[in-house]
């Protein structure tokens, strides 16, 4: 058995309070991992950690490397006095329409909403991080809240850090907000790629809705115009994207705060000739 010191203060030197202090404390004997102080984060964690569980059987962990329950596109546009975000409410298990009332647009605080496509459990995890942050803000009781740009920046760091651990959060996230009289719209990809723009879309929306937005969007649109454009984009996405359903939500951020609408359906028309005979222009298909 190692002799226990009588005092925690070995700095007194041997002989001051008894012979036992001449011995190093058990704590000092334990081997410590070598840390490169220059890179170590202040929080005390390692600078770069791959989950040891993942390496236990010599193989990298694979099951987080592919999404299971997913959401499709999120769209966002800025307009004269705010930001609109829209998405459908589907959580798809592969191509099975498994969860039809999954709300993918979530309020962060009075100035900010986020919407996510991709793995929905990862989105729930991200929301937990954000909720904790905004709860802390609430308890600080100084009236300050996370600004939309800060939320966006935070998410870039989180997603980029996770991709560095080879364990990415499988999401494309849109952050919409309104702060200091200006609308904010930014996106973060699953590997931490980020940018801000006047109108945004994730996933399929990039191909289906963005062209429409580029054509019709103006920064000085009224709310009605912006809503109409959003409906049009949603409809186009719904027609072309098989992993979507006709049940949408629209989130609005203005100087007055955040409101996420109740789910609604859009009127669709499937009577188009090309819809009825899709093979007409593609010989060899059925």
């Amino acid at each position: 058995m190692l002799p226990r010191p009588q005092s925690h203060s070995a700095a007194l030197g041997p002989g001051c309070t008894g012979p036992s202090l001449a011995n190093p404390t058990p704590l000092g004997l334990e081997p410590r991992p070598v840390r490169h102080a220059s890179q170590a984060p202040a929080c005390g964690a390692e600078a770069f950690v791959v989950d040891p569980v993942a390496l236990a059987n010599g193989q990298p962990r694979k099951h987080t490397q592919y999404p299971y329950v997913t959401g499709t596109s999120v769209l966002g546009i800025t307009y004269k006095d705010g930001v609109l975000l829209a998405s459908d409410t589907l959580g798809a298990y592969g191509s099975t329409k498994r969860y039809k009332a999954f709300e993918r647009l979530r309020k962060v605080n009075d100035a900010c909403v986020v919407g996510a496509s991709g793995e929905l459990s990862d989105f729930q995890f991200i929301m937990r991080l954000l909720e904790e942050l905004s709860d802390d803000d609430f308890c600080m009781d100084d009236g300050h809240r996370l600004k939309p740009a800060e939320v966006h920046s935070y998410l870039t760091r989180v997603l980029y850090n996770r991709r560095n651990k080879m364990d990415p959060l499988w999401n494309s996230i849109v952050v919409g907000g309104f702060y200091a009289g200006k609308p904010f719209l930014g996106t973060v990809g699953m590997i931490g790629t980020s940018y801000t723009d006047a109108h945004l879309a994730t996933g399929f929306g990039n191909h289906l809705a963005r062209p429409l937005m580029r054509e019709k969007h103006r920064p000085d649109m009224s709310e009605e115009e912006a809503t109409a454009l959003m409906h049009e984009c949603l409809k186009v996405c719904y027609y072309r994207d098989k992993n979507s359903i006709n049940r949408f939500q629209l989130a609005k951020v203005t100087a007055d705060g955040v409101s996420v609408s109740e789910p609604f359906a859009l009127e669709t028309k499937w009577g188009y000739k090309l819809f009825q005979d899709p093979a007409a222009n593609a010989v060899g298909t059925w």
Partner: protein
């Protein structure tokens, strides 16, 4: 001389919970910090806001520890814990000894005896939150020295605040303050 609102006595602990402390101010802040940590910890473990009785019990156990060892002194604060959770609105009184009890109405601090007497006269079951604010403001004026002056600080957790901890809007607080003063003056005139 003191800047207004720089000496807070009511603190948010979580969205649905708040603490009012009487006694050593620094001890009070320390307890508030502990309460925040407990609420945060409960939420991250169980995924829902901490119920009132759990928070009160944990706080009481915490302050009780400081009675047990010679190296520590007991906390110098009695705190009122207000929680609006699934069980509805609740009020707890946590004392430095480590006891905690649930009350319909309670008072802590120097003037607690007088305040308790006044609270007992109120019909709490029939009272709305807005009426409660007026009553509380009046009692606070009653139990304070007239010359000394004090800063009235009101916070509530109710339907009107969305079941969240909130400082009573300044306008309402001012109204309650004025109404309390007027009511007391009217009573003085009667005597």
């Amino acid at each position: 001389m003191l800047e207004q609102h720089s000496n807070r006595r009511t603190f948010p602990v979580d969205r649905h919970a708040g603490l009012a402390v009487a006694g050593v101010a620094a001890d009070g802040r320390s307890i508030v910090g502990r309460a925040m940590a407990e609420a945060n910890n409960y939420k991250s473990t169980y995924g829902e806001p901490i119920p009132g009785h759990v928070l009160a019990e944990r706080l009481a156990s915490y302050v009780h520890l400081f009675n047990l060892y010679w190296a520590y002194r007991p906390y110098g604060v009695a705190s009122l814990l207000a929680v609006y959770a699934r069980e509805g609105p609740q009020l707890y009184l946590v004392e430095p000894s480590g006891t905690m009890h649930r009350y319909f109405g309670a008072a802590v601090g120097k003037g607690r005896q007088g305040a308790k007497n006044e609270i007992e006269k109120l019909k709490l079951e029939e009272m709305t939150c807005r009426e409660g604010i007026n009553a509380v403001a009046k009692i606070l004026h009653q139990v304070h020295d007239e010359e000394k002056g004090f800063e009235l600080e009101l916070a509530w957790i109710c339907e009107e605040s969305g079941k969240q901890f909130q400082r009573v809007p300044q306008q309402l607080a001012d109204e309650a303050d004025a109404a309390a003063k007027a009511a007391l003056e009217a009573e003085d005139m009667d005597d």
